[in-house]
Symmetry: C2
Subunit: 159 residues, 2 copies
Amino acid sequence: MDNISQSIGGPPDGAEATGTVLDEFVSYGLRRASNAVQSDLARALRDIDLRLVTMSVLVVIAENPGLRQSQLSDILSIERPNLVSILDELESRSLMSRTRVPTDRRAYALSVTEEGQALADRALEVTREHEERVFGGLDAATRRLLRTAILQVRFAAGG
Amino acid sequence: MDNISQSIGGPPDGAEATGTVLDEFVSYGLRRASNAVQSDLARALRDIDLRLVTMSVLVVIAENPGLRQSQLSDILSIERPNLVSILDELESRSLMSRTRVPTDRRAYALSVTEEGQALADRALEVTREHEERVFGGLDAATRRLLRTAILQVRFAAGG
DNA sequence: TATTGTTATACTCTATAACTATA
DNA sequence: TATAGTTATAGAGTATAACAATA
C-alpha cells in the first residue's frame, strides 16, 4: 500500500507508468503499449484509407496470390465470418477480387488488382515509417531482443 | 517475396510467426502477443468473475481509497462515460461504493468494501500466477529489458 | 464559465450458431 | 458427412456529444 520502499534508490528501470500496483505487471504494460502502438499505426494508415485489418489482409493476399479465405483466416487468426465484410470492402474498392476455383467450386482464389498491389506497397512503406517512429528509439540489440521475447511470449500464451 | 535469404543459417532469432511480410513488423508481433496474453489473463480472471477492466478498476480503487472517478479515468485511460457502467457493476456486487464528497458535491469518493478488498487481493494473486505462466520462460535480464522497452515504446507511441 | 458524473449513442473488433452449395 | 463461404447476431471495448448538478 505504500511505495516508499521501491522508490528509494533513485530512478529504477523505468518502473513508473500509472503509479499503481498494475505497473508491476508486464501484462498490463504490454496492453497499454500495444494499444498506443496500434493507435499510431491506425492513424498513419487512415491517410491511405486502410484500417489495421484491411491492411494486413491486403498485404497477405498480395504476397500469396490464389490464397483461399479459410487459409487467410488461419494465417491472420480472423474468424471466417469476419473476413467476409473485410473482403467485400476491398473488392468494392477494386483492390482485390475473388475468383471461383474450378477444381473446388466452394472456394475462392483471392488476388490483388494492380491498384491493390500499389496500395499494398504503399501500406508497407507507411508501416515501416511507423515502425521507425515507434521503435526507432530502441538500439538494434534491444529491438532484436524485443522481437524474440514477443514471439516467446506469444507462444507461451498460446497465440 | 522470397524468404530464402533469411532462413539460411539455421534457426534465426525466432523470425517466423505467420510466415508473411507482417513478421517483419514488431508492431504486428506486439499486437498478436498482447492479444494472446490478454486472453490468458481474461480466462484466469473469469474464475473470480472479473474482466480485465473490472480487475484494474477494483485494484486501483483498493490502492487509492477516496479516489474520484475523473482521477480513475485519467490513471487507467478509460473515458469517464465508460467508467459509469463498470462502477455500477462493481457497486451492485458490493465490491465498492461511491460516497458523496462533502467539500465538492459534484464528486464521488470511491472505496472498496471488505469483500472488494479481498477480491482485489485475490485478483492480484491470479494475475501474478498468469504473469509467471506467460513471462516465466524469459530470464530475469530479458524480462527487465522487456519492461523497459515496453515503457519506451509506450512513450514513443504517445500512450 | 468550467468541471463531475451521467445518458445516449455509435463504431470497431471479435465470437458463435446456422444456413447454402459444394465436395 | 465434412468443408468453404456466408448470414445474422451478440458481446466486448472504445469514443463523442450533450445534459444536470455543482463549483
